[in-house]
Symmetry: C2
Subunit: 239 residues, 2 copies
Amino acid sequence: MARIAADSATFGGESKRYSDEEVYKGIAEAIVEHRLPPGARLPEDALAEVFGISRTGIRKVLQRLALEHLVTIRPRRGAQVAQPTEQEARQVFAARRMIEVGSLGGAIEAARKRDIQALHDIARQEREAQQSGEHSRAIQLSARFHTRLIELAGNEVITDFLLQLTSRSSLIIAMYGSRLSIGCDCGEHDELVELVAERRVDEAEAWMERHLQRIEATLSFGPGTEDVPDFKQIFRPIR
Amino acid sequence: MARIAADSATFGGESKRYSDEEVYKGIAEAIVEHRLPPGARLPEDALAEVFGISRTGIRKVLQRLALEHLVTIRPRRGAQVAQPTEQEARQVFAARRMIEVGSLGGAIEAARKRDIQALHDIARQEREAQQSGEHSRAIQLSARFHTRLIELAGNEVITDFLLQLTSRSSLIIAMYGSRLSIGCDCGEHDELVELVAERRVDEAEAWMERHLQRIEATLSFGPGTEDVPDFKQIFRPIR
DNA sequence: TGGTCTATTTTCGTATACAATTTGAAGGTA
DNA sequence: TACCTTCAAATTGTATACGAAAATAGACCA
């Protein structure tokens, strides 16, 4: 099982003193970028040492991450990177479809030239990261594309929800994604930018619905690669 | 300005030792039920004394409430009950329309007889509370009606979002609601139960959209009743 | 009376201490 | 070898201490 060590490369070994917000971003990014796998334990002491603050600050951050469903905290057993279930995964994507399709009209209406340009840039960077095999960068850019698009609609409440949902999606892909999950995305976002630029709302909505369904469809649930293989479950009953 | 005193009646003066969860519920309910008005300060010491735990536990709860936008925490100045802006209020209701209308079809599809009955009961209790002037009870029941209905759709992610949104709505009504805001609701929820029972999805969706728009329309923003009247602002410039 | 400055008190932010519980390993037995 | 028991080490939960900042009250002056 993956662990955090004080000298781990996961966060770098600097001795700088990080602020709460930096610690939050540091851990959240490590999870979202798959540097911390689902199920990885997150002991308070180790994190406190890595980030150069006391456990008090770490606990605050872990509590927040738990509310956002990126980590799980079990009483007296500490925190670990969350391991979303299949059900949770499907619900997250259903919620995304509702929110993203539902906001797309407003986003298109509000989109100005430079917004379109910004989306284009992100899509291009994503394609490049994809092709040069920079997985974690591609993941981040994909999430940013979706949030940038929807935040054009101007509803911060919705934007906040979507931010959470994209983070959780990354974690879900870390658990259930095959290589396809990321590969098949390739270039797709550019298509949507076109539809947005031309203000073809209905088509854009249909596109988004399909897009999210496709990502969900690339997930492979099945018996699953447990983090700690439970041999008892596997080898027991040959009855 | 409203304050928490150790002997305040807001939480009762018991000396029982509360768990984190109980403290959370205690404060959240006090806000949602308008016993703690928007802007009320929430000093850690006073809360710690009232609930019989140390500041550590209180801080955890306040952080959580802040993430849910029920309280505001400003560095070095502590926590206070949030004072949502008009913009925030409109965004919350827009988000509710999207989520509740978007989930209603699934909820209706999944609704069984006993679910309908449960909704009926809540609507009836709400009506009774309304008529006997039990404001805070009516508020809670109204929120519960909406969440119960939508949770039938079976998406916990969406349900969690809606739980937050209904809490925030209560706070918004505390700030901007006239007497109308609560009164006009009267009996309305029964109509929706009918539509749900008869599986008239389109009409139910239209009804929900109108219902939420109407609640929003009863809010009176305008110059606003500040919590601490700023006489300087009011009386200064007769120029 | 109204305003400004200063001193006191209150309140928050962070680290640390200590008890309680879990984890993990060593040793013993079938 | 597999399983159970026991004990030490590691880890978390909660309270507390203390420095730093902000709120408050009082004195002083116009």
